[in-house]
């Protein structure tokens, strides 16, 4: 499919994906991955699909969203491929093409929003954002939240950076540069 080839090209050029051409399909990545059992495809299969241009299938897989950035595979890869970085790229591309957002994307968005606003994060702010979208998770995490609150370990008030105006200008500029490139 045309769209698939455009996406493949985008992964290889904009997201510096050329490195995966070196993959010898040994599966060491999948074998060393702590969450591979829950993935639609292990990293090895995912890279094979991307190389072949089956991008729609690859970008709709849950694989990259289960990457925990433990770097087990990166250390072990006999071809020195920075697998974790390619997982980040595939997450970004999946979000760009508007896949049905997985829970982890919601979690990332709930993490990023308070950072954009205040420059720093509190657990409470991130959890509040995530809970709005996933009340079930809020319910399950409630006992832990109560315990942490009882031990005065939760910060309910945001702690903004001192120069919040400057911080926001920097982030705004970064967005502008990103848009233009």
């Amino acid at each position: 499919m045309m769209a698939d080839l455009v996406l493949r090209d985008r992964f290889f050029k904009k997201y510096h994906g050329q490195e995966i051409e070196n993959c010898i399909q040994c599966g060491t990545c999948t074998g060393s991955c702590p969450l591979a059992p829950y993935m639609d495809y292990g990293p090895r299969q995912l890279f094979a699909m991307v190389r072949e241009g089956d991008m729609t299938e690859a970008l709709n897989a849950n694989t990259m969203w289960f990457c925990v950035s433990c770097y087990n595979c990166v250390v072990k890869c006999p071809r020195g491929i920075s697998i974790t970085d390619h997982m980040y790229s595939l997450k970004k591309m999946a979000a760009e093409i508007g896949i049905k957002p997985p829970k982890m994307l919601h979690l990332y968005q709930s993490f990023n929003a308070p950072v954009e606003k205040h420059g720093r994060l509190t657990d409470v702010a991130a959890m509040a954002g995530y809970s709005l979208r996933h009340p079930g998770a809020a319910f399950r995490n409630m006992p832990l939240g109560v315990k942490l609150a009882a031990k005065k370990r939760l910060e309910f008030k945001p702690r903004p950076v001192d120069n919040i105006t400057g911080f926001k200008k920097v982030m705004e500029k970064a967005k502008e540069i990103e848009r233009l490139s």
């Binding site: 969450l35 433990c70 087990n72 370990r153």
Partner: protein, 280 residues
Amino acid sequence: MKYGFFPGCSYKGAAGYKESTEAVSQLLGIELVEIKDWNCCGATSYWSTQSLEAYVLPARIMALAEKQEFSEIVNVCNACYSTLRKAHEKLTQDSDLKQKVNLALAEEGLTYSGNLKIRHFMEVIVNDLKADDIKKHIKKDLSGLVVAPYYGCQLNRPWADIDDAYYPVLMDRLIEIVGAKPLKNYSAKTECCGAAHMVAHKDFCIPLNNRIIKDAVSKGAQSICTLCPLCQLNVDSSQQGLGLPKMPVIFFTQLMGLAFGFSEKDLMLNKLLTPFKMAV
């Protein structure tokens, strides 16, 4: 010894990490000077969603450190350490990216030159101090305490330069220096705790933590020692329902503090979810 200190967002809420770090560093004469106006490093969340901002966040922290004339940044969180180091390495190799980052930082009059080193506090203590400088402060005998050194992922992976990627030993050495016994053959010492996935996919992360705890229990540890707020929270909070004996998960700074004679209250050990009581 003076270092630029990056506490990160999770430091304050972590169970006694702040109090014990302050107590221990002061006693050892390590001056951790907080980098003024620091921001969140962005961590995995930004790497996973943003291309340029993921670099701008850590670069702003490093630019502030440079402006405040620090040559080394000391981290207390594995994710902060990893994020800063990763950004630092990529920006050093990619001048085009560095230029873009600096263009954004210029909005606040900041520049990142890359002329600094990114470090973790645990490694600073072991590598920059002589064992005797630590030992001379020991007031309490911990020789009856067997401690499982749990390093997590992002301190030694992917770099594996200050220590081994899978079987690091720096914290083992530190445990020994303060007089306790590091658990031998602790094979889960760099297994993943699930990190932020614990929030969205708890069911998949519990088995990971089960292994970390079970390996420590079955080999005879009385406590697990860690160096990252998120590792601590995950391993500490996932113990209910595992059917294993409760295993307190303390920070390396709390272990040091105990050896130096600080009270359990000074070190805020009451903030742990699984209580720690000195049996010795």
